[in-house]
Symmetry: D2
Subunit: 348 residues, 4 copies
């Protein structure tokens, strides 16, 4: 048995309790979790948000972002060894469907989500199939290794537009948006606008390299962007918030022929002026989901190793795993970047 953060029943909350230590199958690895981080989906499960009620079947172990050490490998595991430091892709793809077989495992037809459809990693140990594991370079700090999925989202989003030598606007500066801003900076965007309505996040965005930070509740982002791009608009905008006004402002601030990257998940339908915002502009619009498996992980690792994005700036708080309720409360306040939890050690 081991300790884990368990979603014990339908309804808000979670408990820290004993749970059977998982056993690796033939192609699995058993990982001792060294660091695990909280993501928006975890918040939704914790709060028992409407959007996840149909998917989550308590009782189950929560969590999906982690880095840990391999303690045991199944007999048919070939490329990983005891002692390796790994993270795991959240999207548990089948490897055999049309999408998986055509290089699009990130939209697998039989996708399961770690910590949603299966037991997660807010625990001392976790088991996963070798094909969903990512071998970390030992130069990367364990907390950064745990929190590299949001950077991965940002890498995938950035890859869908032309950044180098272009102007970009990022609507929504939470951890993923802030990563994206850091990435755009390092990829040679000539001017980066960051838009949010929360002070704390605008500061994060600035720290990560944003050139012009706009509080959308105080200023009109469209006007500001137009003013600072000689009336042309940005070459690309990234919608990272899922909020109706961001779509509206983003498309209005986009130059004709530009690219709109949609990553945020609106909880309801969005109204779009398709004629003026998309057709007359001959705009490219890309939905961007998760990360390319594993192209994005490779690029993310290179970017981290080259020191191009300093993810540690985004890691603002640390807790022992048993303090998880404090961590969730802090995250809910909106006054945090990534929060790391430690299941197997007392952190300093």
């Amino acid at each position: 048995m081991m300790h884990a953060v368990v979603k014990a029943s339908s309804g808000p909350g979670a408990v820290f309790e004993q749970w059977p230590t998982p056993k690796p199958g033939l192609r699995d690895i058993l990982v001792r979790i060294e660091a695990t981080s909280i993501c928006g989906t975890d918040m939704h499960i914790y709060d028992w948000h409407e959007s996840i009620r149909d998917k989550v079947k308590p009782p189950m172990v929560m969590g999906h972002e982690f880095a840990g050490k391999i303690m045991e490998v199944g007999k048919e595991v070939s490329d990983l060894r005891e002692g390796d430091i790994v993270s795991g892709e959240t999207h548990i793809f089948c490897g055999k469907c049309f999408q998986c077989r055509t290089g699009n495992a990130h939209i697998c037809e039989r996708m399961l989500l770690r910590g949603v459809d299966t037991d997660g990693c807010f625990a001392k140990y976790h088991v996963l199939n070798e094909q969903h594991a990512w071998l970390n370079d030992r130069k990367i700090p364990i907390e950064v290794a745990s929190a590299q999925e949001p950077l991965g989202n940002a890498v995938h989003a950035a890859s869908a537009a032309e950044i180098s030598g272009n102007t970009v606007a990022v609507f929504g500066c939470g951890p993923i948006g802030a990563c994206l801003i850091g990435l755009c900076k390092s990829f040679g965007a000539t001017k980066i606008f960051g838009i949010d309505i929360v002070d704390y996040r605008l500061k994060l965005a600035k720290d990560m390299g944003g050139d012009v930070l706009i509080d959308g509740s105080q200023q009109d982002p469209v006007k500001e962007i137009m003013r600072l791009t000689d009336g042309r608009g940005v070459d690309a905008f990234f919608e990272m918030s899922g909020a109706q006004p961001s779509f509206e402002e983003g498309f209005k601030a986009l130059r004709p022929g530009g690219t709109a990257i949609l990553f945020g998940l609106p909880s309801k339908k969005i109204e779009l002026d398709v004629a003026n915002w998309i057709v007359f502009k001959d705009a490219h619009v890309r939905g961007v989901f998760g990360r390319r498996l594993f192209g994005t992980w490779y690029k993310t690792a290179e970017v981290l190793k080259a020191g191009q994005v300093d993810l540690s700036k985004l890691i603002t708080h640390r807790f022992d795993l048993e303090e998880f309720s404090k961590a969730f409360a802090l995250m809910k306040s909106g006054r945090s970047g990534k929060i790391i939890m430690y299941p197997n050690k007392k952190h300093a």
Copy 2:
């Protein structure tokens, strides 16, 4: 003086009356109009539709699609000669702005529209700048040369998705949609769905090569498409109608990782389930406007010369120009393909 169809004043209707024969400037050509065709925009101007009231300043000559013979060339015209058969691009680009200088003249920053912002071609003669003219191959019949803009729209739309070896759905089977179906057939789409609610158009779509024609008022297009694609959905869908249900059905019938081409111009905002239709699907969405200048014209000409799309099937009616009011009434009925009018001869 010459005869022309003149939008004489604000309000519905137009008149057939005398109008000064235009004179070519240094870089212009004077064209005797041999055939001219009616497009949806002409209908809007004729009907004094809300969408064009701010743009059109009567009195003016209507019309923008044509083919004709050059009667006179300005002194600085270098590549065209008297006797050449030409058509004209409707979008009068400046040639000097950012978009024009980067290969995107079709979204010129100072765009004017022939027959909207300037005098048009529903007349015996018309003048245009050499740079907006297209030299027709003499093998192409004059009516086809006049009506090649809708095929050009279709070529531009088709170029924005991968057609060959893929399944496609075309929502809206008016002349442009029908051209697109013919083009998809000739470009090797493996299955082509045509969706409309007007019988006449579904027949056109079938004649042009549609494999499965669906009357959206009778059958659920999503269900049909899913049934006939083994539950996967189409690789690409083309929204050619601007109607809310088409967006809804199109995105639902699109497979994850597929491409949505938006060409239709909705008269109001469209509601999109961005999360389920675009983000989770990692979809590519492209607004497509006009035609690439002049890449699309070159390809259109090649397609016509190779006999890949038989545009003459779409030309369903012919009138002398002075019978324009009959032509407009017929077009309004929805029971026509392209309608050709002749300003300079009695057609048989």
Copy 3:
């Protein structure tokens, strides 16, 4: 034990003899070979060509193209069942290296080749891992299913250039080149040039849809292509032969801004006028190897099911497997398309 065509020792030739029937492992399938076809690599092994001497370790079973029925599946096989009709991808990828994990398994870092590095399929039975198998649609004839790899090569090559509405030239009209011509026809190329020096092949190319067939030993392909493209050159050329003159003629006949697809494998270095053929032309050049796994297979299957390319035209001869030496002699003569052999039945 079973009968098989065995490369028994270094040196030319092969023998038809007893060989142990293979046993499927946990993730393998055992296939009864219904039809198997000969490819150029098989010829090289048979002739003990210099290029394969380092790779092939006799004794071994030859052959890699096949279609057959699954007789037995390993315990961990999940998506295939006894009775399914399958083919197998020749390139045995590892599924775990950088290339495999980024959608490029066709250039796997640890690639093995069926019938070269492993036992092949010129036998009554063959075993392969589930992940390298392709489930055939039952509508596709068994001979066509066996011979779909060359069409796959053609699909991969065609996907690397823009075919629809463009002019193309195919240098080398063996089975793969002929497939490519059929594919370009069905994908809407406006003019297709086929170039070879063997009559038999030029006839194949014509049957598959080539518009202009050029015997390079009689006529200058560059002059012909220029004459028939108004002096512009082709939009794309495919080098399928590996011969120095084809590179030279192909690049000369390519229009500036065009695309060159290199598929043929020269046995020595090729001399290229890089300045005039590539740089000044701002040309795109693509090496194309094997097939995309499994994107190409999916598209190939769709094309076959839609009847767009009639592969049966390319299947010119049939033999019982034990007559393999006749089959090889015929193939060597150059007067054949694809040759099918049957290990488990007397063919009519």
Copy 4:
């Protein structure tokens, strides 16, 4: 009359002498040259190199890179005014051919070269058509404005490969190669290899941001690159020298699936191992010529305004125009970056 550097006759050398001041036509501008820079083509003309003998018709004014002030505009010039600071594109495109009309004016079918086919800018005054002029931002120093064409070459080359998050190797570190290295740095390449055999250039390359500088005459670049990329090879290589060994080393050091950009102009045919270097690698190879007109100029200007590449580091020497023979001698020595000459003032 004005003073100019004149290629007076066939054979090496040039003279500084009186030449008629040019007069602008209807669509032309007259520019007072404030700064002009020397390029390799100028060297070839000066030395009467074999490659230019057929093209250059003495007597003529040399030179093509410049920045200057507009003194007079023709009557039909619309977007430029007296007093504007402009540079000029060297490639004088017609604006009317297939390539020009499809966004590829840089490979115009009737291209003329400034200072080769026409009089150039090594003079007090120069005339050019408005459509070939580029309006400089006043924030950009005049010397940088004169020398922005090599950065433009680099921008065009860099745009043809994926730089961000990738490893790159630049073979040939003259001014354009050095610009490219600066650009790759600013666009987020994770590791940049610069290869040359001249010390001076390797130092330039280092100053511009190269991570690993390799003297190809001392070390094996392939071995070094493999060692520092964990045996994988670089994601992209740029051939900027036109030398046989660079092609060989570049292709060997390229990872399978990578991109080769060919910019250097070999004076004779290059031998390529097409099978191993291109086909088996499924490599992308791009010929890159000049600059995209004017997409590259826009991006170049943005990059300069954002301070991403410090071009002034490359400007190593300055001369009055009449000292042109010293400037050419220095350039020939190989111990210079860009050399600026001033026709209208005494510098320093």
